[in-house]
């Protein structure tokens, strides 16, 4: 009784009282029981286990359909052909699989685009990683011949003309910008490296694309395949990414002019995209209204590649 009189008239819970209320709201409740007839329980149980079995079967079928052929052969060497034709009978063909996986990729690209805001700066670092940057050319590294007399060819410009610019022109006409950013490879490794070069945005401002252009098709004519045969490499970059202040046409790496391994004499450096978009030994830029082809997209990878 005496304790009750001491309480303040306003019913405001003290911190201790508030904690007790939270604790009692979060406390485990006694188990809830109900009475049921055994027949009902058996019927319910049968229904639920049949559903579980059907679900497991459907999941196994879809899982089988999604597996690469080599894995199927390894896991079930005798039966994979028969299981494949069974899956095809319920519509789970290889073509269907590719179409559905394409949709997953498009969905993931759409999510990435929603998350991305063009004004946001990519993280920069005080100093680059001390290790040397790895040469990840998927084919052979181009030889030095192309660097002499190299020119950057521009097309799809508002002027209607095609332009051809030498390295000296590019370096003298446009301001040099330096940055330490992380290059992230689709394979999973990454490297903080020091880059220097001109802003793609400055080039676009000096040589505006034709009205209606939304894309830049970037191409390296000097790229080589694994046997050293000429195999052009090409990527698509949307113009918003190209105009980002941290998107460089890099001429320098680690304080020195680009080496052949890293795309001499000029490469794209777009740190908000995966490394595979950062085309080396760039020779051609064409501005287009429709999205141009992308080398790795044609080989099953995403074409947005925004990180």
């Amino acid at each position: 009784m005496a304790a009750e009189r001491k309480r303040p008239p306003v019913n405001r819970p003290s911190p201790g009282e508030w904690l007790r209320r939270v604790a009692s709201a979060a406390a485990e409740r006694p188990e809830e029981t109900f009475d049921a007839q055994p027949q009902w329980l058996t019927a319910r149980s049968r229904r639920d286990f049949l559903l579980l079995g059907a679900g497991a079967l459907a999941t196994a079928t879809i899982g089988w359909w999604l597996l690469p052929d080599r894995t199927k052969r390894l896991w079930l060497p005798g039966a994979h052909d028969r299981l494949d034709s069974l899956a095809a009978r319920v519509g789970l063909t290889r073509e269907q699989r590719e179409r559905q996986l394409e949709r997953v990729l498009t969905f993931d690209d759409d999510v990435a685009e929603v998350l991305y805001s063009k004004g946001r700066a990519v993280r920069t670092y005080d100093r680059p990683d001390p290790r040397p940057l790895r040469n990840n050319y998927h084919g052979r590294t181009p030889g030095p011949e192309h660097v002499v007399g190299w020119r950057l060819n521009l097309s799809g410009l508002a002027s209607g003309r095609a332009e051809s610019l030498g390295l000296e022109t590019l370096m003298s006409r446009f301001a040099r910008h330096d940055m330490n950013t992380r290059l992230v490879c689709v394979e999973g490794w990454s490297h903080v490296a020091a880059w220097g070069g001109l802003r793609f945005a400055d080039l676009i401002a000096a040589f505006p694309p034709s009205p209606g252009a939304r894309w830049a098709a970037l191409r390296s004519e000097v790229s080589l395949d694994g046997r050293g045969q000429r195999e052009p490499y090409y990527v698509s970059i949307d113009l918003e990414t190209a105009r980002h202040p941290q998107t460089l046409l890099a001429t320098h790496h680690a304080g020195a002019p680009l080496t052949l391994a890293h795309g001499a004499p000029l490469r794209l450096l777009a740190p908000m995209k995966l490394g595979l978009k950062n085309i080396k030994a760039l020779t051609n830029i064409a501005y287009t209204a429709a999205e141009p082809a992308d080398y790795w997209n044609e080989r099953g990878y995403s074409k947005y590649d925004g990180i």
């Binding site: 188990e31 809830e32 009475d35 049921a36 027949q39 009902w40 999604l66 390894l74 998350l115 689709v186």
Partner: protein, 271 residues
């Protein structure tokens, strides 16, 4: 079917049906059961595709050797396993060929990993919703008695086999709630590890778009290490989980499928 049995116990008592009813405990909300089932193929798919992605650029590496030029520890494990079980292919790919989509499947593995990752996030949300709707979250929260109860459980588990061999009784420590302290700790931690796996996954997928998330894992490689560790913890949890459920008996497994259990505390109808 019998509709009266579906209603609450209070409604059952007065009707007094001819056949004897038995008491049943409500266990897991239907959304918890569904997401629990979905989780199995999703986690398997994520591991299988994730290791095929890991193959392209291993995080855990030693200095290159002749047999293992990339210094990948999983290639070492593959070589060791291939020497035991034999292989027709490249021994350093032994593990990758069997527990992942296999080497040189990066594009396929990435697409599938994202497919499973989105479904995994949906699955996690459904699970959380089921915990909230069914009130099951209350049974998972840590409590002050947990350390002492956990030690008692560890002591119990250590004694099970010796006492079975000696044919001596070895009573289970008393459990105050739905789960014992070890279960509670595991079931409370696993969803958080799943959340951490999702967050570290996003940090790797979009380090430039979500720089705050990348920084939360120190850097890009930090996120990869955490992601890998989450995979080990989630995969490692499944092994004792399955063994203990199997040891606990049919009723426990059925409860995760049907949602009810016949093990009523304080009655003779215990399972």
């Amino acid at each position: 079917m019998n509709d009266t049995a579906r209603s609450k116990p209070a409604a059952m008592a007065p009707s007094a049906p001819t056949r004897a009813s038995i008491p049943v405990v409500r266990k897991h909300h239907v959304l918890v059961r569904l997401s629990h089932a979905w989780h199995v193929p999703l986690l398997l798919g994520l591991i299988v595709t994730g290791l095929a992605i890991y193959w392209a650029a291993p995080v855990f590496r030693h200095a290159p050797t002749a047999a293992n030029p990339r210094g990948d520890y999983l290639a070492d494990a593959g070589i060791a396993l291939a020497s035991v079980f034999g292989t027709q292919g490249n021994p350093s790919n032994w593990l990758y060929e069997r527990v992942s989509l296999g080497p040189s499947h990066l594009a396929r593995a990435l697409r599938l990993h994202w497919l499973f990752a989105y479904l995994y996030m949906v699955c996690g949300a459904v699970y959380a919703l089921g915990l909230l709707r069914g009130g099951g979250w209350r049974a998972l929260l840590p409590r002050a008695s947990d350390p002492a109860e956990a030690l008692a459980m560890i002591r119990f588990y250590l004694g099970v086999i010796p006492h079975a061999i000696a044919r001596r009784p070895w009573p289970h420590p008393p459990i105050a709630g739905k789960y014992n302290a070890l279960q509670r700790g595991a079931y409370f931690t696993m969803p958080l590890v799943g959340l951490l796996a999702v967050l570290s996954g996003w940090a790797m997928h979009h380090p430039a778009t979500l720089p705050w998330l990348e920084r939360a894992f120190v850097n890009y490689d930090g996120a990869r290490v955490v992601h890998f560790a989450c995979m080990l913890v989630l995969g490692g949890f499944m092994i004792p989980h399955v063994i203990l459920v199997a040891a606990d008996g049919w009723d426990t497994f059925r409860a995760m499928v049907t949602g009810w259990s016949l093990r009523v505390r304080g009655t003779r109808h215990g399972g």
